[in-house]
């Protein structure tokens, strides 16, 4: 309210600044995606695809498996959210990390992990693997709101005679509904556009729009058909995003009503059942991880490090153009570049967004939604779009080593914005005003107040972005040159070729990727926890 009155000058300045991230999104996101859309429309592929019976079977299976995965993720995520938000028990950090690890594990790794239990794939492992990723989204989103919801409303209901389940249903759940809704929308989106998991576990039998786009492009060279499917998927995603935005808006109004965060309590009575359920979920989440490591060490002839040793080679019968170690080094370097780009764009966008909100400019909503879009649009579509647009750019961009980092940055940027934005917003406006009255210019206020207070979460966001870039598979599989693949691409290639050593090597590479990921997550958790309670 007060901010809405701030000078027109600052509003114009912020709006101008908003054009920079919008231009980045336009060039590296909107253009490729629109190119796909127009390709699909121009070549008449859309009409053909819409009347084909198997298109609707694909849509049905895509949405059906996404809905089932969402239900499983929500049911598994709620008890974990309760434990994270409300309980004071030992090993809470472990729970938090155990939930977070699956979310950032490379999709190919998860696909392989589930294949150690279901060697032939199928619908059940697809649903479980998709849910496995997204328990973290539910637990984090709902848990975040839960921790800030005043416990006294629940206590009041209990004092008025409501039983514990009754109080939960009539007081707690309605308060959490917006968070559950927005988490479910995001999870649905992720599951509907999930690529690596479905490719690894579904093979050619169970296909979603996402994998079909890939197969048509790479194996059938049916570009217009693929473009038509991309268009179809884009529309579905847009619809879900709009629903999610509505839910998020309600959630933010709910958050502004929050009371003081209360101390968590030791669980008692019926709560122990919930804690036990959360424990089961954590064990279930760790099972594929353990299974994968075990598989990477066991061969037909017993325990062996053969797979790890093979990483120094190009695989059995020269499956790869480079050695596993080269691919790993390339992965680390590419992810670093991607994180750097995403960090610059993401932090800049978050700062601009906060500035826009404070000065009450309309364009804030536009930028906010635009920044969320890449999160929902399938990485395969983006990668495919790069293939058909980047030739138009000056220089030999299509073969440039920057292509893969840029595509990965696009996937990572929305996540960084989502992590940094709430922390930046949480900096008390009056603290910034105090600095201004003491003579600090707006830039100086940012450097002296916002930056030191958000520093930890910036580092955490960078670490988080790094692991996501490291595991990115959808866009990378399109764009990585054969002589410079990343580790996930190498894993997929190894799995698609025959040979015991090849698959052994793939499992070893997965285990390595997982170790790096877990290391990053643990680091992020260390950085995150103290900062949450500081202001």
């Amino acid at each position: 309210m007060a901010q809405a009155r701030a000078g027109l000058r600052s509003r114009t300045g912020w709006s101008a600044a908003a054009l920079l991230p919008l231009a980045f999104l336009g060039l590296f996101f909107a253009w490729p995606v629109l190119a796909i859309v127009s390709l699909g429309l121009r070549e008449g592929g859309v009409a053909g695809a819409l009347v084909a019976g198997d298109t609707w079977e694909l849509v049905g299976f895509t949405l059906g498996q996404a809905a089932a995965s969402t239900v499983v993720a929500v049911v598994a995520g709620l008890p974990v959210a309760f434990v994270l938000a409300r309980c004071r028990i030992r090993g809470l950090g472990l729970v938090r990390a155990a939930v977070m690890v699956p979310f950032v594990l490379p999709t190919v790794v998860v696909g392989l992990a589930f294949r150690t239990f279901w060697p032939d794939g199928g619908v059940l492992p697809i649903v479980l693997a998709n849910a496995f990723f997204n328990v973290a989204v539910v637990a984090r989103t709902v848990g975040g709101l839960w921790a800030h919801t005043d416990r006294r409303a629940e206590d009041a209901a209990r004092a008025l005679g409501a039983s514990r389940p009754r109080a939960f249903l009539s007081v707690v759940l309605p308060a959490l509904a917006p968070a559950v809704g927005s988490a479910a929308a995001v999870v649905f989106l992720f599951c509907a556009t999930s690529f690596g998991v479905v490719l690894v576990l579904g093979g050619s039998r169970y296909r979603t729009l996402e994998t079909e786009i890939y197969l048509r492009t790479v194996e059938l060279f049916d570009l217009s058909g693929a473009a038509a499917l991309s268009l179809l998927q884009f529309l579905a995603v847009l619809a879900v995003l709009v629903l999610g935005a509505l839910a998020r808006r309600r959630r933010e109004t709910a958050l502004s009503l929050r009371g003081r965060e209360e101390l968590a309590r030791r669980p008692s009575g019926g709560e122990r059942v919930v804690v036990a359920a959360a424990g089961l979920v954590v064990v279930a989440l760790l099972t594929p991880v353990v299974g994968l490591v075990t598989r990477s060490l066991s061969t037909r002839d017993g325990w062996s490090f053969a797979g790890y040793a093979a990483l120094a080679t190009r695989g059995e019968r020269g499956t790869l153009a480079v050695t596993g170690i080269d691919a790993a080094v390339n992965s680390l370097r590419t992810a670093f570049d991607a994180t750097l780009v995403a960090l610059v764009v993401g932090v800049f966008s978050a700062v601009v967004l906060v500035g826009l909100r404070r000065s009450g400019a309309r364009i804030a909503e536009v930028l906010d939604t635009a920044l969320m879009l890449p999160l929902g649009v399938s990485a395969v579509t983006v990668g495919f779009g790069y293939l058909i647009t980047m030739d138009a750019l000056p220089g030999d961009f299509r073969t440039s080593p920057l292509l893969v980092p840029l595509a990965q940055a696009l996937v990572v940027t929305p996540l960084i914005v989502r992590m940094v934005l709430p922390v930046l917003r949480a900096v008390d406006e009056r603290l910034r005003q105090a600095a201004a009255t003491l003579g600090a210019s707006p830039w100086r206020v940012w450097r002296e107040v916002d930056l030191p207070l958000t520093g930890r979460s910036l580092v955490a966001a960078a670490g988080f972005g790094y692991v996501v870039a490291l595991g990115e598979f959808g866009a990378t599989s399109f764009l990585a040159r054969p002589d410079a693949p990343t580790l996930p691409v190498v894993i997929a290639r190894l799995m698609s070729r025959p040979g015991e050593l090849n698959s052994q090597m793939a499992y070893a590479a997965c285990a390595l990727l997982m170790v790096v990921t877990v290391g990053c997550v643990l680091l992020i958790e260390r950085l995150r926890v103290p900062s949450s309670g500081e202001f």
């Binding site: 005003q433 003579g439 600090a440 100086r444």
Partner: protein, 318 residues
């Protein structure tokens, strides 16, 4: 003339939080903006600091309009109700902040920080973390921080309201001494009249966005401009002046206006008695009307009462 407000109006959409306020604060003067919560006094303060823009009217310093001057160039210090200390800096780091912004060199900065910490009674606190301080200590640091760059004008927004009562009274006296010693020009926003009268040379009473009365504390206290102001200043009973033997139209009585006195001119029956901090408060029936009074008697007693003019205010207006 130092600060000059001319017909300042601040609107949020359709509602005017501040309407047509004109007020001056002279060099070295301390003025209190006193009013109930929601009367627009904090908005006015924020407008002076440059954190809000007036919809019409002007804020001027030494006759030059401040409209185009951003917050950080106004050289006005601001102290918030809850300190708003920088949590990532030590006590010294907080106090030195404004000096760093003005590029004061390190040696002089350190000297000034120590001098200010001594002034607010926090010697030896320089290296403490601000998160370890009590509420009162935090407010002292906030004050030192605002004073350090020698602001042209010090703005205090309910500086003591977040503290408990005993501490508040103690700090109010300290703050008054501090402002006088440093001959600071200051504007204090408060809803507590004790605080306003302790600190200020002049008091401006605000009600629903307007300044309704300005004057020295004693004058405002004894002659509120209207019934509403009188009520805000503690009068709860309004009677003709003749009731207390004054040749004026109407007076307001505070709880201490009547006291038990065997030689007093009024007579009534005690209905209730309540122990307060330092006296006993009575509810007395005089000729069928209920009045508050003070004195050590029991319920049911017939008592005689005298008027204490300190508890009586002449009320202007109708």
């Amino acid at each position: 003339m130092a600060l000059e407000l001319d017909s300042v109006t601040v609107r949020y959409g359709r509602t005017a939080a501040v309407s047509d306020v004109s007020l001056t604060v002279a060099d070295g003067e301390v003025v209190a903006l006193l009013g109930p919560s929601g009367c627009g006094k904090s908005t006015l303060l924020r407008t002076i600091a440059g954190l809000e823009q007036p919809s019409s009217g002007s804020v001027a310093w030494d006759s030059s309009d401040l409209a185009g001057v951003p917050v950080h160039r106004r050289e006005f210090g601001l102290v918030f109700q809850d300190g708003q200390l920088f949590p990532h800096r030590s006590v010294a780091g907080n106090v030195a902040f404004g000096l760093r912004m003005r590029r004061v060199d390190r040696e002089e900065r350190d000297k000034r920080v120590l001098a200010l910490l001594e002034l607010v009674g926090l010697e030896g606190y320089a290296q403490r973390r601000v998160t370890q301080l009590s509420g009162g200590e935090q407010q002292r640091v906030a004050l030192a921080r605002a004073l350090a760059p020698s602001p042209r004008l010090l703005l205090l927004d309910e500086p003591l309201s977040a503290l408990d009562r005993a501490l508040r009274e103690q700090l109010a006296v300290d703050l008054a001494r501090l402002l006088r010693e440093a001959s600071t020009t200051a504007l204090v926003v408060t809803h507590d009249h004790d605080e306003a009268f302790t600190l200020a040379d002049r008091v401006a009473i605000m009600s629903r966005g307007r300044v309704v009365q300005v004057g020295p504390p004693a004058e405002v206290w004894s002659s509120p401009v209207d019934v509403e102001t009188a009520k805000f200043l503690g009068c709860n009973k309004f009677v003709p002046g003749s009731f207390v033997g004054l040749p004026v139209g109407r007076v307001g009585l505070r709880a201490t206006a009547l006291r038990v006195d065997p030689a007093g001119p009024l007579e009534g029956t005690v209905l209730e008695r309540v122990h307060r901090r330092d006296h006993v408060r009575l509810l007395v029936d005089i000729d069928g009307e209920e009045y508050e009074a003070v004195g050590p008697v029991s319920v049911g007693d017939r008592v005689r009462l005298a008027v204490d003019l300190d508890g009586v205010a002449r009320v202007g207006g109708e």
